[in-house]
Amino acid sequence: MKVLVPVKRVIDYNVKVRVKADGTGVDLANVKMSMNPFDEIAVEQAIRMKEAGTVEEIVAVSIGVKQAQETLRTALAMGADRAILVVASEDVNTDIEPLAVAKILKAVVDEEAPGLVICGKQAIDNDMNATGQMLSALLGWSQATFASEVAVEGDSAIVTREVDGGLQTIKVKMPAIISVDLRLNEPRYASLPNIMKAKKKPMDEKTPADYGVDVTPRLEILSTVEPATRAAGVMVGSVEELVTKLKDEAGVI
């Protein structure tokens, strides 16, 4: 079976996000960018399935600016076999919306015919949590989102999902879309020899036009501002003082 893993280049999760003063967005010039943390988990899942013999080939796909090739190289260094870069924007500040990403991924799936697509549950920049579900809809495939356990049995996948009430296990017909949650696995680091090897692995470059997809956004961004800041608090010296403040000053207990 072939597995497709969409990986997004996002601001590194450790970077302190700065909102531009003119309200046009977040400052992304010269900040550290990395693979979306959930996508590392998706790549790791695919590699483990390959190591277990369920998967033959792992294809990583990224849609965005040209620099997303670094993210794809990371996926290749972790263990993906081949990569497809879809250059959809010249400007690092343009985020391609999940609907457009899903349409491009659908076209890639039509060409590649994977048995599974494993993506992240959420991109930590736009926090949309939408692409996997949208792709699944466009393909008419089953979906298993927020996965914390995945097992393949014949032509089905048994997936345990992290939901508000706890855990839910479902059985989905393959081909399927699985979106992964944080506790599925701990992704490996790429070793230096594998980073070197990854440089020789194939990477195709495409554009949305190659797939006949229009990436014009449906949501017009009117402004991006900093959230309201909280008023400074106080330090208390003892538990007694804390209880008194909570009772008399804050009135919350």
């Binding site: 949590n129 939901v163 900093e226």
Partner: protein
């Protein structure tokens, strides 16, 4: 403008808190019809009829809708979509699973986790773990929107809308439910509790987490956790508060042995009063705390329990 509000129905019961808060947001977009779907949904529909602002309740009962599997549920919503300009739901894991699927089937972009309704086309939503608030205007014919319930007040229960029974759409039969692992608890629900007591990695073990739980019980609070506490097995996954867990905004949030990573703050920084107990005075959690106590939690928490009587 006609709005379809997809109610949160779990095992036949209406989740009043989530649905009523989403109702408050939905009302700002137009006249609201509420959809209750499930293997059993009539009791939920009768409850939903009391939602102030509901003009009608649709009740779809069918075995295929029993566990809110994404494919049959999305098919049902899409079959109704033609009558509505907006499809809205509270941003629960169920709705996050279903709504993007609905949106893609309608060739619309989904707008998730909306924290403010500017007008019927324009919405505010947090991005980058709540480090920025974006205002977006939708150009789609139908707006598919999930609502961050922690920022809206509940609608009143004084309504009396008529209930209409409808049938399910064809089940694509792509997935089956296997089992649920749900923890039974007498504690209030995390997302609607007035007080939340959360523990982090500093708590150190699953056994020690009972200290956090007993403090919560003393306060009649829900229990939350940081990702590190959940990953380490101290607490179940559904207690995680944060960017990728639950978003809470109680009157009082007590963070114990939690450092205050932005991903955690994303889920609790809109709480009215924040208390932090941490042995490291440099911990970033103190920057958002109204009351900070520097100290060992194993000393402070028992004392706190005692002081509460």
């Amino acid at each position: 403008m006609a709005v379809l509000l997809f109610a949160e129905v779990t095992n036949g019961e209406l989740a009043w808190d989530a649905t009523s808060k989403a109702m408050t947001a939905a009302k700002m977009m137009g006249d609201v019809t509420v959809l209750c779907a499930g293997a059993q949904a009539s009791a939920a529909a009768a409850e939903a009829a009391k939602l102030e602002g509901a003009t009608k309740v649709l009740c779809a009962e069918d075995a295929s809708l029993g566990h809110r599997l994404a494919e049959p549920t999305a098919a049902l919503i899409v079959s109704l979509a033609g009558d509505y300009s907006h499809i809205v739901a509270p941003a629960t894991t169920d709705a996050k699973n279903v709504l993007p699927r609905v949106a893609a089937l309608l060739d619309a972009m989904v707008i998730t986790d909306v924290s403010g309704v500017v007008d019927a086309d324009t919405f505010e939503r947090p991005i980058y773990a709540g480090n920025a608030i974006q205002t977006v205007k939708s150009k789609d014919a139908v707006k598919v929107v999930s609502i961050r319930t922690s920022t809206f007040d509940a609608a009143a229960d004084t309504g009396s809308a008529p209930v209409e029974t409808i049938s399910a759409a064809d089940n694509p039969a792509l997935s089956e439910w296997v089992e649920d692992k749900v923890q039974e608890t007498d504690r209030p629900e995390l997302t609607s509790a007035k007080i939340v007591v959360s523990g982090g990695r500093g708590v150190g073990s699953e056994e020690n987490f009972e200290l956090i739980e007993s403090l919560a019980d003393k306060l009649g609070a829900a229990v939350g956790a940081s990702r590190a506490a959940v990953d380490s097995g101290y607490a179940p996954n559904d207690w995680q508060v944060g960017q990728t867990g639950k978003v809470v905004a109680p009157d009082l949030y007590v963070a114990i042995g939690i450092s205050g990573a932005i991903q955690h703050l994303a889920g609790m920084k809109d709480s009215k009063v924040i208390v932090a107990i941490n042995k490291d005075e440099e911990a970033p959690i103190f920057q958002v705390a109204d009351y900070g106590l520097v100290g060992d939690l194993f000393d402070a928490v028992p004392k706190l329990k005692e002081a509460l009587g």
